[in-house]
Symmetry: C2
Subunit: 255 residues, 2 copies
Amino acid sequence: MTDEQTGQTGAGVGPGGPAKPKKADLTRRTIVETALRLFREHGYEGTTMRAIASEAGVSIGNAYYYFESKEHLIQAYYGRSNAEHLVACVDALETERDLKQRLLAVLYTKIETAQPYHRFAGQLFKTAADPASPLSPFSSESMPTRREATELMALVVEGSDARVSPELADELPNLLWLYLMGIILFWIHDDSAGCARTFKLIDRTADIVVNLINLSSLTLMRPLVRRAVQLTGELRALAGPGAEPVPGGQERSSE
Amino acid sequence: MTDEQTGQTGAGVGPGGPAKPKKADLTRRTIVETALRLFREHGYEGTTMRAIASEAGVSIGNAYYYFESKEHLIQAYYGRSNAEHLVACVDALETERDLKQRLLAVLYTKIETAQPYHRFAGQLFKTAADPASPLSPFSSESMPTRREATELMALVVEGSDARVSPELADELPNLLWLYLMGIILFWIHDDSAGCARTFKLIDRTADIVVNLINLSSLTLMRPLVRRAVQLTGELRALAGPGAEPVPGGQERSSE
DNA sequence: TTCTGTTTTTGAACACGTTCAACAAGTGCA
DNA sequence: TGCACTTGTTGAACGTGTTCAAAAACAGAA
């Protein structure tokens, strides 16, 4: 499974197809593990491709045989990040029914699981910030990873006792995903001890978000809700034609 | 004046002090002008420092004498961008009284004046996205530039006939600046012809924003307003201790 | 005018991301 | 088993951002 996932988030064009796990997969995995470890220890800029190749026991050219660029090594982080996060928050999602508690659980665990990577989080953002990059959260290449995250948000809402405006229901996972992106962005910039400021921000903003969701069915808010839905549509246009709303509660795609 | 401004946004540690304009200032300016021109023509990545130095008629080392890095050349763009924007929107701000129209004027002119630089806008964002970079919009080095922008937003509100909740009044320029940042972020990713999608988004979101501002004095919204104000406080903490709210309507600092 | 100190200029060299021709190892078929 | 093709490996070389010791130019005082 982990092999399968890494393969999926690896360089799309490169080797490591669906064939049997073999020497190539081992090499690829070794390179990724080494890279992520060195990134954590020395930071992204402080880690050279030569160091990665050397410590992984391969040549510099071999590293590039598997990964298109140094930046693509970061892509391995995304898939792993989602997997770790899911493991960490699944219990809470099975026991909590209150929307705010569910949301808090997801947000807290996201930051907690990401914490070991805070050292190179700035580089994550810088890399993701390039609109032309396949690593951009809005890129079509990131679609699978993004879908996982929005489906998790759909679970947050679906398993809760909250009353959501029907107009909003389909778009809410995407809006919550954007909210999560905002939190992560704040976390990246947060240099307080243990990223305490981020957790405080989560508490504050989760309140606002849940209040807004609860208000969404009021007649007074109807026009605003409609516009928020349109806004997500505009933002989705950035990601190209495959970026459809997640039907709430639908069975996960096998991808 | 232009020299003064460029000097201010140049490398803080470098040469080009407050002394009389001389050969050094000419060299610096030539490098900047050349760089911005080549960035527009060839894109940021497609422009090498050697090309900039060569076309500016200086050596590669000389370019680095004046600018700490290639990225610092981008900083010249920020100050210019604000100046051009101000010129473009000042008429509307003197004639319009409706908050929405004022806001639309500011947003539209921002995108219009930025349009010639759309070619390397992605790089702007990528550069600004590095939390450790002095070019980050949240950095203390960007404080002067950011202040200009928030003061412009204060003018938008101050000269309008809108009724703003007193709690919100001081923070509103910062919140509107964040809104502007979001629009620019969308613009950077927008590859539609003439960035039509961005203008459409402006129309849609300005509506929402103005509605929210108008709703802000309702009792029902009071708790949300208070939280929004706290949120801006949290975000301001990222920029360090100098980032204070702009007292609404106050005279511009001479900086 | 000369001297001293400061500022500006220079370009070879360095570091690092990346490329690619050549080679080695693996695979499948006759 | 041999051959042709595919996959995996290698490291010198390239391009580009950047550095820094040396030289040139400038400025002010005696």
